[in-house]
Symmetry: C2
Subunit: 346 residues, 2 copies
């Protein structure tokens, strides 16, 4: 079978490999790969800046935004051949920390987790793979190949869950949301905000391409100007990882406002900050800023539910290109109009 592999730490070492079929492990699902979404983490891995091969191996099968179809399932697994399935990315530590033991590996306290396609475990960019039923999430047939959006949606499902749990610290009836960045994560964050009946604003730099129309189609408002011109949001989902934006959105957040950081980027630039003034504002306005990474099983389930309720043509608009496995490299070259490129198997 074919799989996309790379040598972590070595730039441009990715290739389409011919590998043996997965081993015979009858207690797990045997899955045919359907498709793989490509994101910034994949680009980072392929650039050699990130990722780790499984123990004792040089190469890693990549791919974490996954969709597959069950080929065979163990008895009692609640899966049957033909079912669409998404595999969880992160796995608990071998000797689990308290959070991992509680099923919340997304909150892992010791950093010893593994991640399929990223760190220490083979990913899903393969024509066939094994999947433990405990880490497999059923995708309704009606969602079809849009199930490849489940994994990125888990990120915002967790973000929204954490915003609402943190918001419950006091009386709180948020009305206005700001999402910074109109990439796939930002657009899905906006979708979940609209599904909650909130007024959603999305800020990005671009003024053309598909993003403004995707935002408008949600019933949300698209902005490309400076953040300070925006109305004060009760909730911010920061989806770019750009440090300066964190200050900008804190400055305009409403009293009791909650800022959720979901984006990660690299940068060494230092900017001058009056932290004493920022601290004072946060205290006097009861502001919250928090980071959210990854997702656990319950976020996969809420992500599936959110996608199942969404408008299908709108979700189709997120998948900007479908590239066959043979041309996989095309999916990794970023185009100006890209939202989410997908590699399709078989």
């Amino acid at each position: 079978m074919r799989a996309i592999t790379t040598r972590p730490g070595v730039a441009d070492s990715a290739r389409l490999d011919e590998l043996p079929e997965p081993p015979d492990e009858p207690e797990t699902l045997l899955v045919d790969g359907v498709s793989i979404g490509v994101c910034g983490t994949d680009a980072e891995i392929l650039s050699g800046a990130y990722g780790k091969a499984p123990p004792g191996r040089e190469r890693l099968i990549i791919g974490h935004e996954n969709l597959g179809r069950v080929r065979s399932a163990p008895h009692g697994s609640h899966f049957a051949p033909g079912d669409l399935v998404v595999g969880v990315v992160r796995r608990p530590d071998p000797v689990p920390c308290a959070s991992c033991a509680a099923g919340e590996w997304d909150m892992c306290k010791n950093g010893l987790y593994t991640e399929r396609g990223i760190s220490g475990l083979d990913g899903y960019a393969a024509e066939r793979y094994r999947l433990e039923p405990a880490f497999a999430v059923a995708v309704p047939a009606a969602l079809g190949d849009l199930g490849v959006l489940v994994e990125p949606t888990t990120i915002v499902a967790k973000a929204w869950e954490q915003i609402e749990r943190i918001g419950a610290r006091a009386f709180w009836k948020p009305a206005r949301v700001l999402v910074t960045g109109a990439g796939p994560i930002g657009l899905l964050a906006a979708l979940l905000g609209r599904q909650r009946g909130l007024e959603v604003h999305v800020l990005d730099r671009v003024t053309d391409g598909p993003k403004p129309a995707l935002v408008a189609a949600l019933g949300a408002v698209y902005h490309s100007g400076p953040p300070r011109d925006l109305p004060a949001p009760d909730i911010v989902l920061e989806c770019t990882g750009v440090g300066e934006l964190v200050f900008d959105v804190l400055e305009i957040a409403a009293p009791d406002g909650i800022v959720c950081l979901t984006g990660v980027s690299s940068g060494t630039r230092e900017i001058p900050v009056n932290m004493t003034a920022l601290n004072k504002q946060m205290v006097l306005e009861n502001n919250v800023v928090f980071g959210a990474v990854n997702a656990n099983l319950r976020h996969y389930r809420t992500a599936v539910d959110a996608l199942a309720r969404a408008d299908r043509p709108w979700l189709e608009g997120l998948v900007s290109r479908r590239v066959p496995l043979a041309g996989w490299q095309q999916a990794l070259i970023r185009r100006p109009d890209d939202v989410k490129p997908v590699i399709v198997f078989g």
Copy 2:
């Protein structure tokens, strides 16, 4: 009757005034002032930098850290003559915002609240004052004149409540606490941490005076070195308002760590910050930073409970000086060994 008044906005305008007795308002408590604690906010008001007189008036009676004794109480108020009582400081907006209407004026969303002794309402630094039963909190007789510590304790009662409510966003079993600043707020924050059975570390600059011994007497660990040498805390209560410290404590916070900002200070100094890297750490470690200000009625009740459970000699150690009303100015001059100076009436 005598009262300490000032002209907000005018430095060094405070004086001991002879004022008429409070008006006849039989639906409220009539209270004899017992004592007033002095804090940084009082110093800021007396310097002319902060505060607002009641509408149509030039002068404001100061004093918000209050303790009084009921002289007369309306029928059905659950108070009787002789009861010790603390008055709530902040009051909801005249046309309340949703948070104020829900009794959470500490989370006021429009900033139109008033504060006795600070902003728009006379304070408690008077031999006699009126107090609405709905904003009066009973102090057990056993706590006696240490009831003057209730109001500063409400600040940390709210901080701890919010930490615990935010912590409930996920599985979380915190073990280690860092408190920055060993002033009254920091020491009371440490007390509440120890009452929760947590390992508490307190960081301050001083190496002599009463603070190290007060920390040790709690069964907590006192530190005066750089924050980076401290073990990673699950919870931080930042009680200084010094901007640089916010970065320092974020850097050492454990994964899933929660940093509560309670301190406010002034400063215009800008420091260079790689905010992109700080954002990345917060995302990957699910860190939370939030501000907490003021307190509502339930925080007054938990503050009274916390003080009632505390060691009385330890609480005595927080009251560094008791100054009679005639010498009130002495309480406002900061001494190196001061923890909490108190002005005593009658």
